[in-house]
Structures are given as C-alpha cells and as structure tokens.
Amino acid sequence: MVQPRNFGFGEDEKALKEVAHAFFRDKFPTDRLHRLVASNWKQEQESECYWDRSLWQEIVELGWLTIAVPERLGGAGMSTVAVAGLIEEAGRAALPSPLISTLSACYILDACATEGADLALALVVDGKTFSFASGDRYGSWENETCDISVSDGVLNGTAWFVQEARKADYFLVKAKSELGLGLYVMPANTPGVNICADKIIDLTRDQAHIVFDNVRYDDVQVVAAPGEAVAALQSATPAMLTILSADMCGAAEWQLQTTVEYARSRVQFDRPIGFFQAVKHPLVDFMTEIDQSRALTYNAACAIDHEPEMAEQFARMAKAAATDAVGYGSRISVQLHGGIGFTWECFVHLYMKRQLHSQFILGDAAYQRAKLGALVLA
C-alpha cells in the first residue's frame, strides 16, 4: 500500500488534535455558541455575522491558521491528516470562523506556486484570513463556470456563495478572460469590491455575494495567470473537500452524542426512550455512517499526503459519504428530540442548519458521485 497503514496519524497529529479538542471543549461549549448566534431569534439576524474575535485571536496565536502553509514560508507545514484532525474538532464545536475558508485558500495558493501566491501565503502567516470567491449565480462547483471577467487589468462581475465573506481580510478571486481562468488576490476593503451579505439559514456561518465593479489590480495580485487557474484548483480540490468533510464528521459526532445523551435521559412510558428500537436503531445507523465518513475522510487526507493520484476519488467519496451521513443524522437528531428538538432554544437546530449548509457547499452527494463515476470509468 502506498499509504501508511495508520493514515500518517503520528505523534504530532495526535497532539494537535488533542489540544484542539480540549481548547474547543473548554473555551467554546455549545451553550456559548447558542448565546453567541441564537440569543436573538428575529428573522433579521439571518444576515448577521456573529463570531468570537477574541477566541479567533487565540486560534491565530496557536498557529492553527498556518498549519497548511509550507515551512519555507514560515508556516507549520503540517500534513493534511493533521489539518483534518484539527478541523474535525472545530466542526464538533460548530465554530463560526474563517478557518476552513482560509485553509482552503492556502491549498489553492500552494498549488499555484507563483511569487504572488507565496506573498499571499505570507499574509496568512501574518494572521490574515482568506475566502475563495468563485461561485456563479447558480452555485455551480464546476471549475469552468464563472460570472467574473477580467480585461484590461479590471475585474467585473459577481462571485456568489462566498463563504465567511465578512470574516475574510482577502478574497481569492476566480475570473475569466480570453486566455482562460485566472486567480487574483484582492483585499476585502479594495474600492469597488462590494460585499452583499446573504441572509442564510445556517447561523454559524456567513455568506455573501461579492460584486466587483471595475476593480483594478497590480501584477503581484495575480496568483495564477489566465489559463493557469484550473490546474491549481484541480490540485487543491481534494484538500478542500476533505477538510469540509472533516468539519461535517466532527459536527456529526456532536449530533450523535447529544442525541444519545437525550435518549438516555428522556423518560417516556416509564423508560429512557433509548429503550425503543425506533430510537436506538437510527442512532446506531448514524454512528456507522459517521464512522465510515470519518475513515474515508482520513483516507482522503492521507492520499493527499501520500497517494495523490487517488486523492480526488477518495475525497469525493468522503464528501459524498459525509453529506449522506449528516443528512440522515441531522434529521434524526431533531426527530428523536421530539417536541423540544423543534424549538429554537434546543441546540440541535444549530448543527442541523450548519450541516445543511455544508451539504451543499462544494457540491452535494450526487454531484460528488457523478464526478467519482467519471473518474472510475475513465
């Protein structure tokens, strides 16, 4: 086997995951999340962007923002398996933060291998946050679709479904020209960059569409020249899928454990409801789906590190499995909580909404399977 049998999950990876686990458990328990994002239940808050900046500062100081930045640029340069472990813990906490969006940008920038990209990665080492701005009006995840065009050194158009847009210091913008797709680094406060917040269901994220209105850029902001972007994106796609899957697996484990705890303590008909197979068996099934998704996620991460020719296949499997698992698990986490699960005050809806969002970002399960099928049959 090309991959190490233990997924390359060695002492460093273990230590990082354990520290992250304790950090989120102690500093960001779910009641704190609920107070942060759900204490006000008016519809208007759907366009709010709540996050805990002091907690974020601690995360930056722990160096977690730079773990995917190569050592030669001052980053920690850790394995993708390590990144997956960290993000799994952040997902368990349903952390509102630009961590995933910045790490995803790091993988793209690293794949660009240009001077501009290295400068951008240095910004990450300085604690700056990123988000990838690429979606079209319909939320396509095809590399080829793009509603932003570039000509004469000016960007025009709109990027849709941009994640954590109001938490990002910089955008990594995909734009098309006659020569093909290119990638551009753009400070969020550049004149002509208009961030239009979306009102979204997930309370733990923010999302926006970004209108670029005659935005000028310098050469140094070009991190992938026209025609060079697709290769970089293809190379970074497995990592983007894998870290999102890791987030979903972590959040899913929270959903499982929280619902199990309820099934152990809630008494109806003189018995803890976990007695009933209509409660017990779905929980077991959810557990088996989580475990497969996790195993596939670490397998994908390990392939990125050790078996890159299989990385896309494995990463698509991980995202497909995680998407199905959390679709099922979110449903039962609310359903098995019964009436209380249908209320705003119960925590389970926060995770259901985050998972719903994650299901669609980077493409849903059927999309991953269609891509996988093309790879397998190729």
């Binding site: 759907e46 979204i200 997930d202």
Partner: protein, 413 residues
C-alpha cells in the same frame, strides 16, 4: 339509498350544487396583507379577522359543521362535509380561523360532552365566534401523553387547576382551551379528566401565555401556565377518570381518522390550487426552471428519478385518500385513515429535502433573502416539516398505533 353515477345520494348532489353556487359568488378576494397557509400561522389581528369573517360567512351558508346535529348548531346533514371541503378546495377559499376548534375540539365534544356543554359551545366553534386551543402536551408528556402532570383538584362543585402546557397553537387568540388534566395521581390512564377552561377571560390572571419559538424562528406556538385556575364542574367533558377516552377521540380527529370529517381550509394562501399531496407539481416547475452545476435540472437523470419517485408518492397518497372512501376496495377503511398522517408527513419532509437538492446552493438562503430561489420556501418547509413528523404524536408513535390497531401486533410499551 339511490346513488347517482358519481356515487352520491340526492342530498349530496343537491348540497354540492348549493356549495358550488354559493362559493361562486361569495369567496372573498385575497386581502392586501399576507395570509398564512394554515390557521396556525395566523399572527396578526387583521389576519385573524379576515379568517374569522370568512368562517362565519361559510358557516352561515351551511358549509361548516354540515354533518353535526342541528340542535347544536350543525347542518344536520349526512356525509356532506367532505363535499363542502372538495368545493371549498376547488374554490380556493381562505383559511378558517377556528381550525383548532373545528378539527380538534368539536368532534370529541360532540361525542363526549354533556348536553349543556354541546349547546353552549359547538355553535360558536362552527361560527368562529369563539376560538379554541388544545391543552394536552406538557414538557414531560410528549409521546407518552398519559404521563401528563397538570393537576385538577376537586373542591366541592369546582376544580382548581395548576400546570404547564406546551405546543399550544392559537393560545394567544383563544377564548377557550380543551384541557387534559390529572385528577388522580395513582392511576396513569384512568386518572385523567378533560375540561373546558377559559383562556382569554383569565389572561394574566390565572392563565399566562408565552410564545414558543420554533426551529424556523417563528413563534407559532405558545406555552401556557395555569396557576390556581378555578372552573365549575359543569365545564367537564366526559366522566371523571375517563379523560383518556376523550383524548383518544380528540387525537383521532386531529389525525383525520375520527368519526367527524373536519372542514378544510381552502388553500387561498397556497401557491398551487391543490392539497398538500399535490404540492409536487410546483417541484416539477422548479426542476424546469433550475440550473445546477451548469445544466438544467430537468436534464439531470438522478434528480429526475427522485422527482418522479416523489410524484408517484404524491399521486399514491392522493389515490389512497380516494380509495379510502371506496368501501369494497378499501377493506378496512381505518387502515387507510390511520396511515395518512405518517405518510403525508414523511412525504412533506422528503419532498422538501428533494427541492433543496434541486436548488443546490440556493437552499442555503433564508426566506428573507431576496435572491432565495422560490422565495426560500423549500428550506423553510423542510425545517417546518418536523412539525408534521413530531406534532400530534410523533411518526414513531403513530407507527406503533397502526401496527397495534391495524395489524394486531403486540403493544410496544
């Protein structure tokens, strides 16, 4: 009795003609303000008044309470409410303000109530002159409803009631509540009794109503606390200790499997001229109009396969409802009636989930986002669908009941 080719008695045919005629002239135009799709969604007084005046007008025309005895304000007809419902649906009439009273209270009150109770309350339920809420569920009595703890203490000819009810829709507008309370702490099922208790008259005195926020962020439900609420014994429905019977009758009506067929809201507020089961057709439209990953959804065979599965299910539910009334084919009609809620609730949930997949990333957007495809209704309806699979008895409990009552399997308890 002689029946025509549509299988209707002369009385039914004549009544259908009357409904059609009257509706043609009397259905009001939709109001300028937004109306909810169900009475549970009524939040403002202007919505309430619109729905209330429609119900009164329909009642006066004989379209509400048709099959109830005339001495209690009913129409005194036989098997006519279903006809009025069909015609009201076709005519896309407005929401009925008093659905809780009509659907949940009237049937069991008519079966279990005293003569005095029936004469006092039924007519005003039909006409919506008085509005009702239901006081059954409690924080610790959900699926296991009979474990409820609200206590009614006998004191001569009166009862003193203390307790905490949840999931009480319409409580903020209700004049009365049909309340299930414990009157004996030593007997679980035989220690329950049902009462009629005042809400509006006692508000902020012995009754407190507080909104309960749903998963969607809407406050369509309430919690109600009763503190030393005193009522006369004449407000009792059914015998002392016979409450579980009354509750069962009520729940059967709530699930559409009771003796009386309740009037239906006509769906004026709905986007399509249809029952819930037909909501799929907008989904076909949605597929036609949606683009996903660069191609039209109608050209995506995987999504189309699932859409056709939903279309088949939708038609299956509709035809099951039709078959339910054809005795010679249906066999045991209770088999059809009892499964309706489970099947329809699951369908609503799965259909909404499919719609979200059709929309892809657009499903991340809330109803308040102007770019949300189809106004964000499908993600909202997915979240809301847990109301259907949980409220009025979870689907898990419903499956127990069906397995036990219809298939004769051993009780799970």
């Amino acid at each position: 009795m002689a029946k025509n080719s549509a299988g209707e008695t002369p009385e039914q045919s004549e009544f259908r003609a009357h409904c059609r005629e009257w509706l043609k002239k009397n259905v009001p135009a939709p109001p300028a303000f937004k109306m909810p799709a169900t009475s549970g969604g009524i939040l403002s007084l202007e919505q309430l008044e619109y729905a209330r005046s429609w119900q009164l007008s329909a009642y006066n025309a004989g379209l509400i309470g048709c099959d109830y005895p005339s001495e209690y304000g009913g129409g005194g007809r036989s098997n006519c409410q279903a006809i009025a419902n069909q015609e009201m649906r076709n005519a896309r009439t407005p929401v009925l303000a008093g659905m809780v009273g009509l659907q949940i209270v009237a049937g069991s009150m008519c079966i279990h109530g005293s003569e005095a109770v029936k004469r006092r309350f039924l007519g005003s339920i039909f006409s919506a002159q008085e509005l009702w809420c239901q006081g059954f569920s409690e924080p610790c009595a959900g699926s296991d409803l009979a474990s409820l703890q609200t206590f009614a203490q006998r004191k001569g000819d009166r009862w003193i009631i203390n307790g905490h009810k949840v999931w009480t829709s319409m409580a903020q507008f209700a004049d009365w509540m049909l309340l299930a309370a414990r009157t004996d702490k030593h007997e679980k099922y035989k220690g329950l009794t049902v009462f009629v208790v005042p809400v509006k008259a006692e508000l902020d005195k012995s009754v407190t109503v507080r909104p309960l926020v749903k998963i969607t962020g809407d406050a369509e439900f309430n919690e109600v606390r009763l503190d030393n609420l005193e009522i006369e014994d004449s407000y009792r429905v059914g015998e002392i200790g016979e409450g579980w019977n009354v509750i069962s009758t009520t729940l059967a009506h709530e699930r559409g499997a009771g003796f009386y067929i309740e009037p239906l809201s006509g769906g004026q507020g709905l986007q399509s001229k249809s029952q819930k089961a037909e909501k799929i057709y907008p989904l076909v439209e949605l597929a036609r109009n949606s683009v996903k990953n660069g191609k039209p959804v109608s050209e995506d065979p995987v999504l189309m396969d699932r859409l056709m599965k939903m279309l088949t299910r939708s038609q299956g539910i509709r035809q099951m409802r039709r078959m339910r009334s054809v005795k010679d084919l249906a066999g045991n009609p209770a088999r059809f009636a009892m499964q309706d809620k489970v099947v329809a609730a699951d369908y609503l949930q799965q259909m909404s989930a499919l719609a979200m997949e059709i929309q892809g990333c657009g499903s991340t957007l809330a109803t308040s986002d102007p770019n949300a495809p189809d106004g964000g209704r499908w993600s909202r309806s997915y979240l809301d669908s847990f109301g259907a699979t949980i409220a009025g008895g979870t689907n898990e409990i419903q499956r127990n009941i069906i397995g036990e009552k219809i298939l004769g399997l051993a009780k799970t308890k």
